[in-house]
């Protein structure tokens, strides 16, 4: 059978860029699934999209499916007819269920089962056109978008109005009707060529004909064209284009034929912070900034226009005008903010609600300052002299720029710092990097002081909302507490900070007024928050291929200590050791230790009660290593600890082999248990390795 290619193009009024990638994925999955169920063969499926077309290309499709005969086995042959020779109800039901006449039922003999009723079910050949018609209709109907609408009589629900359907099997029309639109062999060019009607004679010529009409259907090709535009600009004016991924993706789905427009703007706008310019570019204009080799902005940007380069001077002038309008506004606000005294900002944040019960942003500032001072005392006493900088936290929230561009909270404080009288780079960072790491900027605060500020900012929110019982569950996390917890973990872990979480929670708790503190016991709060942070720890290490047994084995220590660095070292030690034979052996011995000493309290060992050499030797070994084990744990040298513990396994094994613990003599029994308990306790600083699974 001669195979043909298939093209399906759905024209839709401008689909929002953010909908497209997911819709393409859904289309691919649905079409693959439906085609598989239909038994229609095909070479491959390709999905393409522009802002007004979803395009499906299917390679090498035969004109129809093969007719096949399928054997369906039913109940035992005894059930075919009753003693009177009439078909039984079972037989009639079976035939009916498969849509055949009861007289067509046959009997076949099958190994081990004997005689069985069976049907030769004929699955007829179906034409590709019929199948494809159903597949496309159902695939389009199944698409789910973040937001939908209706627009015509049948109330078909879709992202935007569907306006044309082109659908061809080779050169034949695949009849389709969706939302009152019937398929045809025609499509339309883009607006800049006047929505010209284009007839497609054959699926094979679709891409070529569209290309000739300045519609680049293939997303990858358009991407390449845009990247060529950037390359051209970079070599022409010797700069680097800031290729922000989100903006790039959005532009990809705002044009069918990308052309570059390079715009020079007045240098005075470079007075604005680069973050502000980049934000305006990204959010309001969807243009791309240019930088010199040092990464500083230069007064040039690149816009991607939809269409040919005809009238480019118009577009250039227009782009420049909107840039100027947006940035003049920003510049006006920025200049005003630079002239504003910190006291004025402070008055404003007194009126800015952080949370109804947790007070104003100003109240938060006071708490966070208090907290930073306590953390400083723990890590380095001479840091106390930097605490004054905390007075300027959050002040930018009272500024005009931040009320216009919320995304710049924190960032703007860096630029206002000079006005506050802060010139030290570390302190400028400290009052501006508190929101890091954020979804827009994965970087961590730069240095110890900024890290402490950022941690204090985050734990204050977590403690406050946990006290109010606002604990994130499911996907609901309106105050971004998971992000905050993750930030604390990352900052401490990656910057190797000696900050204990239990202390942190307690310090923060103490900064709240008593009516808030009274809502929860500190022990409960501590447990809930440590539990919450440990979930972030788990998901981080899981992504680093650490197995859950290891994470479970150190959890109780974490809940007791609240020390992220020590937990990291333990996890490292255990995961390195896990596949060693001697470790595997000791983890089994430890399990026995754990079971046998469960519920047994610590008492002293009485050497005079030892009867066997194995007891004496084990105790001797214990005394030999005990001090070093404690010392190593103190020094975070967990792999040394583990080596010592591994050294005890021979003695322990001998003990279990030759000493019976549960003797009738209470004294003797308790003495042996006391010894085992001591050994058991040695492992305490490493983790509950009985949880390691093999």
């Amino acid at each position: 059978m001669k195979k043909n290619n298939v093209i399906f193009e759905l024209t839709v009024e401008n689909i929002p860029a953010r909908f497209i990638l997911d819709a393409k994925k859904q289309l691919y999955e649905k079409i693959s699934e439906f085609l598989k169920n239909s038994r229609l063969e095909y070479g491959e499926i390709k999905i393409y999209s522009t802002y007004r077309r979803f395009v499906v290309f299917i390679k090498d499709v035969p004109p129809k499916t093969e007719k096949i005969v399928e054997k369906i086995y039913g109940p035992s042959a005894k059930m075919l007819k009753d003693e009177n020779g009439n078909y039984t109800k079972t037989a009639i039901g079976f035939a009916k269920a498969h849509g055949v006449d009861v007289k067509d039922l046959k009997v076949e003999t099958i190994d081990k089962k004997g005689e069985i009723i069976c049907i030769d079910k004929v699955i007829p050949s179906v034409s590709a056109i019929k199948i494809l018609s159903d597949v496309f209709i159902n695939a389009i109907k199944s698409l789910v978008f973040p937001k939908n609408m209706i627009w015509e009589d049948s109330k078909f629900v879709f992202a935007r109005p569907i306006r044309n359907i082109l659908s061809l099997y080779g050169s034949k029309l695949i009849p389709i009707e969706i939302a009152g639109v019937k398929s045809s062999k025609n499509t339309f060019s883009s607006y800049f060529t006047g929505f010209k009607k284009i007839k497609i004679k054959n699926a094979d010529e679709y891409f070529k004909v569209m290309g000739k009409n300045y519609v680049i259907v293939d997303d990858e090709k358009r991407k390449k064209m845009i990247s060529n535009i950037f390359d051209g600009v970079e070599s022409y004016i010797n700069c680097k284009v800031r290729k922000d991924d989100d903006t790039l993706n959005e532009n990809l789905y705002l044009v069918e034929y990308p052309s570059g427009v390079v715009v020079k703007y007045p240098v005075e706008f470079l007075k604005l912070p680069p973050e502000l310019i980049n934000l305006v570019m990204k959010k309001q204009l969807k243009f791309f900034s240019c930088m010199n080799e040092k990464g500083e902005l230069i007064p040039v940007f690149v816009g991607i226009r939809d269409g040919l380069s005809k009238g480019n001077h118009n577009v250039e002038a227009g782009y420049l005008n909107v840039f100027k309008a947006r940035c003049s506004d920003a510049l006006f606000f920025y200049d005003m903010d630079l002239k504003t005294k910190p006291e004025v900002f402070e008055e404003k944040i007194k009126n800015l609600i952080f949370h109804r019960e947790l007070g104003s942003v100003y109240d938060k500032k006071i708490r966070v300052k208090n907290l930073i001072s306590k953390i400083f005392k723990d890590i380095r006493i001479d840091y106390e002299k930097f605490i004054f900088a905390a007075d300027y936290l959050y002040l930018d929230l009272g500024s005009n720029v931040v009320s216009e561009f919320v995304e710049l909270e924190g960032t703007m404080n860096y630029y206002y710092a000079k006005n506050y009288g802060i010139n030290d780079e570390a302190l400028k960072k400290a009052i501006s990097q508190i929101y890091l790491p954020s979804p827009n900027n994965e970087n961590l605060p730069d240095g110890t002081i900024p890290s402490v500020f950022a941690i204090a900012h985050k734990i204050d929110s977590i403690v406050g909302f946990f006290l109010l019982g606002q604990i994130p569950s499911g996907s609901a996390d309106p105050y971004g507490l998971r992000r905050n917890a993750n930030g604390i973990f990352r900052i401490i872990n990656e910057n190797n900070l000696n900050i204990n979480l239990k202390n942190l929670i307690r310090y923060s708790y103490e900064t709240y007024p008593s009516n808030i503190k009274d809502k929860k016991k500190i022990e409960t709060l501590e447990k809930e928050i440590l539990e919450f942070i440990y979930q972030r720890v788990e998901s981080y290490y899981t992504s680093k291929s650490i197995t859950s047994d290891i994470l479970n084995s150190v959890k109780s220590i974490f809940m007791r200590e609240g020390d992220l660095i020590k937990i990291r070292e333990r996890i490292q030690t255990l995961s390195n050791a896990k596949n060693r034979d001697d470790f595997r052996n000791i983890s089994f011995l430890y399990k026995r230790l754990k079971n046998i000493t469960a519920n047994f309290s610590d008492i002293e060992v009485d050497e005079s009660l030892f009867e066997k050499d194995e007891e004496k030797n084990l105790y001797k070994k214990y005394l030999e290593i005990e001090k070093d084990v404690k010392k190593y744990i103190e020094e975070n040298k967990f792999s040394n600890t583990l080596e010592l513990l591994l050294g005890i396994s021979q003695n322990l094994e001998n003990f279990f082999k030759n000493v019976f613990v549960m003797v009738d003599d209470e004294k003797l029994k308790n003495n042996r248990l006391a010894l085992l308990k001591k050994i058991y306790n040695l492992f305490d600083g490493i983790g509950d390795i009985s949880q390691i699974s093999y």
């Binding site: 802002y51 627009w151 015509e152 009589d153 109330k155 109005p161 939809d306 009238g311």
Partner: protein, 287 residues
């Protein structure tokens, strides 16, 4: 193209497309959507197509005539078509040509922007149309009005007339727009804009505005009881404007603000309900 010629050309064009040219409605309002031709026009199952200029008042946007782009009062050009024609995007783009914009020589982008008016309980799905990067039109398929799901759907096209004129005349300041060959936009509007800015931000009588709002809300209820939904809707527009003036004075807390918005929305809902019930009644009689 002169400001008044743009209006004339758009009128001519949309009349040819089958719209009836209604007139601005003589009560202050925040947007052309508030005009009864739109508010009532989009409700119900009847066909409806109209176009009009609507002076729109946004007291908070006033800038004492010192900002080249922002005004406390400006002009919208509004087109309403129910149900929307299949080629409406093409028809819209042609309207730009009649006011002298050769679209092949420009960049036109449709950027997702789902319009919403919480005070009217109205929402729709659509775009901002960007002409060489500048927003010139809000293009919306209404899905809801006065909290009622709409069917059939209406398309609303709202042009910013000053934006178009600035674009067409290459002006950077709205007050420099040529109204005709002799008179500038500023000649007509500059003093007005200054005086209204002072009124909006400094002089308006806050207590009186609050009292007015209470009175108007009561009037809506009283008038609806007598099924006088058109006069009642006048009161809704006035209440909405009183609220906008209060906003400009910055005297409403966020909670109060949300409460006022809800009250206007509830009033609008009453008017829409009375209208729909009344029209259904007339239809039954006719059958």
């Amino acid at each position: 193209m002169n400001f008044q010629d743009i209006i004339n050309k758009l009128n001519e064009y949309w009349i040819k497309e089958g719209c009836i040219m209604v007139q601005p409605y003589d009560i202050e309002k925040g947007a052309g959507t508030f005009n009864p031709a739109t508010f009532f026009g989009v409700l119900g199952t009847n066909k409806w197509a109209c176009c009009y200029v609507e002076p729109s008042r946004r007291p908070s946007d006033a800038r004492f005539a010192s900002n080249p782009n922002r005004l406390g009062k400006y002009y919208q050009y509004q087109v309403i078509i129910k149900p929307p024609p299949k080629e409406i995007q093409k028809i819209y783009l042609k309207s730009l040509e009649v006011i002298g914009i050769k679209i092949f020589e420009h960049d036109i982008k449709w950027v997702e922007d789902d319009w919403e008016s919480p005070t009217l309980g109205a929402s729709g799905v659509g775009w901002e149309v960007w002409l060489d990067g500048m927003e010139i039109t809000q293009f919306t398929y209404f899905q809801q009005m006065a909290s009622y799901e709409l069917f059939p759907i209406t398309v609303e096209i709202t042009y910013g007339l000053e934006r178009l004129a600035m674009f067409s005349q290459k002006k950077e300041n709205v007050f420099d727009i040529k109204w005709n060959d002799k008179i500038k936009y500023g000649d007509i509007h500059l003093d007005m804009e200054k005086q209204f800015s002072i009124y909006n931000f400094e002089i308006s009588d806050v207590d009186r505005l609050k009292n007015d709002f209470e009175y108007l809300e009561k009037e809506v209820k009283r008038l609806i009881e007598r099924n006088l939904y058109y006069p009642a809707y006048d009161m809704v527009m006035k209440a909405s404007h009183s609220f906008n003036l209060l906003m400009a004075r910055g005297v409403l807390s966020p909670t109060e603000r949300a409460n006022y918005v809800k009250r206007v929305r509830d009033m609008a809902r009453l008017c829409a309900k009375a209208y729909l019930q009344d029209k259904a009644f007339i239809n039954k009689e006719q059958i």
